[in-house]
């Protein structure tokens, strides 16, 4: 059985950056297992630009960002990629079963990083009435067909959900000659980036129906139309507001869920809010030697943040493998008013820490109040929304007098 210091599951943006970080901190035997035939993961189908402003100080397409980042490790002899391969099981002592081009193989690792990204929430998860029809796709699947295969999966398109992939696909399909009839969003505000509302919808006069959802789909084998319905402020459907819209394609852009079956089977504790592992500030999960980063840990807005976090995770995993770990007891974050989740869930106070979190609703002028026994800080914000990840960085020096847990709340 081959042995490695570190096995990284997934060779996308998270896996590449994690491998870089681990190598930077001294590991010499790193294996990245990737299910596709090339590195880059979902970046390879995100051909639009806007990636890399923080990392490379320029605006790149997804494939270009992946290539530029991969170039940082391309000639690094410490990092090996295994393509066309999927980890199907993690057992105790970090023994991994991999379905590879050589058949089923087992490898053993000193540490494992889950960098497998996330999946799109499927049609079945949101309860649209009607038959299972041809012509209902997740936005990411349609993106893959369009950008990698050159196949346009519909001509008259309706999009449910204003997530960024849906907005990007509205523009993409318009440029490819399809008619995008509209985008419905159940919330009274958009879940996508403001820039995407502007350049993907408004530029092409595509209407955005806020407080609307798709009630049902109709057709005989193939999608022929949908029923759009308005919802009230409690997200309850308003009877009588139904309208039928003819279309041959319904794209769903209704959220992403971290992919963590392997960790669940292993018994790693998951956060019910992020759907990713519960980690400390070294990105280590509840099981020693098992780490997580990127969209497998929590869904990010920007690939730049995925890279930044994953590089830190790689460094921390290397420290663990080399025996340089912080044995002090970790401190828990306690979430109060308005905070929906926080990563890391716990931390060691002798480190500088970036706390990444999301809020539950739209807040106008407000403060993030961070407090505990021996610590009190208010951070003013001009306006925050659930679709934008928030970051608060605290230094070891600031945190040195903290005694006990750290509380977080939004004050209006």
């Amino acid at each position: 059985m081959d042995k490695h210091q570190l096995v990284i599951i997934g060779g996308g943006s998270a896996g590449i950056a994690c491998a870089l970080g681990a190598s930077e901190n001294g590991l010499t035997n790193i294996l990245v297992v990737e299910r596709d035939f090339e590195y880059g993961g979902i970046l390879q189908q995100c051909i639009h630009n806007g990636f890399g402003l923080h990392t490379f100080n320029e605006e790149l397409s997804g494939p270009a960002y992946a290539e530029k980042y991969f170039n940082l490790i391309k000639d690094n002899a410490s990092i090996k990629f295994m393509f066309d391969s999927t980890v199907i099981k993690i057992e105790e002592n970090n023994i991994l079963t991999i379905q590879s081009t050589q058949g089923l193989i087992k490898v053993q690792a000193d540490a494992v990083v889950m960098a497998s990204g996330c999946r799109e929430r499927p049609a079945g998860a949101i309860g649209i009435k009607g038959d299972r029809l041809q012509g209902v796709y997740s936005a990411g699947s349609a993106q893959k067909y369009c950008n990698k295969q050159g196949i346009l999966v519909g001509k008259n398109v309706f999009i449910l959900g204003s997530g960024d992939i849906g907005l990007i696909m509205a523009r993409r399909m318009t440029l490819e000659g399809a008619k995008v009839i509209g985008v419905a969003e159940i919330m009274p505000y958009s879940n996508g980036l403001a820039r995407n509302i502007k350049q993907c919808l408004e530029d092409f006069d595509i209407p955005l129906y806020l407080s609307h959802t798709v009630e049902s789909v109709h057709g005989n084998g193939k999608l022929e139309s949908i029923t759009l319905i308005e919802v009230d402020d409690k997200l309850q459907k308003i009877e009588g507001s139904e309208q039928e819209i003819k279309c041959d394609l319904l794209l769903l852009s209704v959220g992403l869920i971290p992919e963590n079956n392997l960790l669940e089977e292993l018994g790693v504790k998951l956060d019910p809010r992020t759907k990713g592992a519960i980690v400390d500030d070294t990105y280590m999960s509840s099981i020693k030697g098992i780490f997580a980063c990127g969209n497998a840990l929590h869904v990010h807005d920007l690939v730049d943040y995925v890279s930044e976090e994953s590089r830190k995770c790689g460094k921390a995993a290397a420290n663990y493998v080399l025996g340089k770990i912080n044995e002090s007891e970790s401190i828990n974050n306690v979430l109060g008013n308005g905070v929906s989740y926080m990563v890391p869930q716990s931390f060691h106070k002798n480190n500088n820490i970036d706390f990444m979190f999301r809020v539950k609703k739209v807040f106008k002028e407000c403060s993030i109040h961070v407090y505990g026994n021996g610590f009190d800080k208010k951070i003013k914000k001009l306006g925050i929304v659930p679709s934008e990840m928030q970051k608060v960085s605290l230094t070891a020096d600031e945190l040195k007098d903290l005694n006990g847990e750290l509380n977080w709340e939004v004050i209006e």
């Binding site: 090339e38 950008n147 440029l175």
Partner: protein
């Protein structure tokens, strides 16, 4: 007038005022916001990204990007002008696939390297 800056995912909310013929921009985090607002009012520009078929052993499509933003009104025309273009591997990221599209002085370049 209110605009959302599209330069980066930050999406700054810009307020644009015309004070005695001079355009004043506030709400921008970086200088690109001001540049964007002025351009948006005078000559709006958009970067074009799309894919082209490629003769390659491994890939069917090559992602491409415009070397600079195009006038917004020319984006659809540019896509139409690319309709019959096919790339050939090997190609390097940044290689020009179509030079001077629509005579705008802007090239369409590969945004991925494909070796074979």
């Amino acid at each position: 007038m209110n605009l959302v800056c599209i330069n980066c995912p930050r999406g700054c909310k810009l307020v644009v005022e015309n004070i005695n013929g001079e355009i004043k921009v506030t709400g921008n985090f970086c200088p690109r916001g001001e540049k964007y607002a002025i351009s948006e009012l005078t000559n709006p520009l958009r970067t074009l990204t799309t894919t082209l078929p490629i003769k390659s052993e491994l890939y069917k499509r090559l992602p491409v990007i415009s070397s600079a933003p195009l006038p917004k009104a020319k984006v659809i025309d540019a896509v139409k002008a690319l309709k019959d273009v096919e790339a050939t591997a090997p190609i390097k990221m940044g290689d020009i696939v179509v030079k001077d599209i629509l005579g705008l002085g802007i090239d369409i370049v590969a945004s991925k390297s494909i070796d074979k």
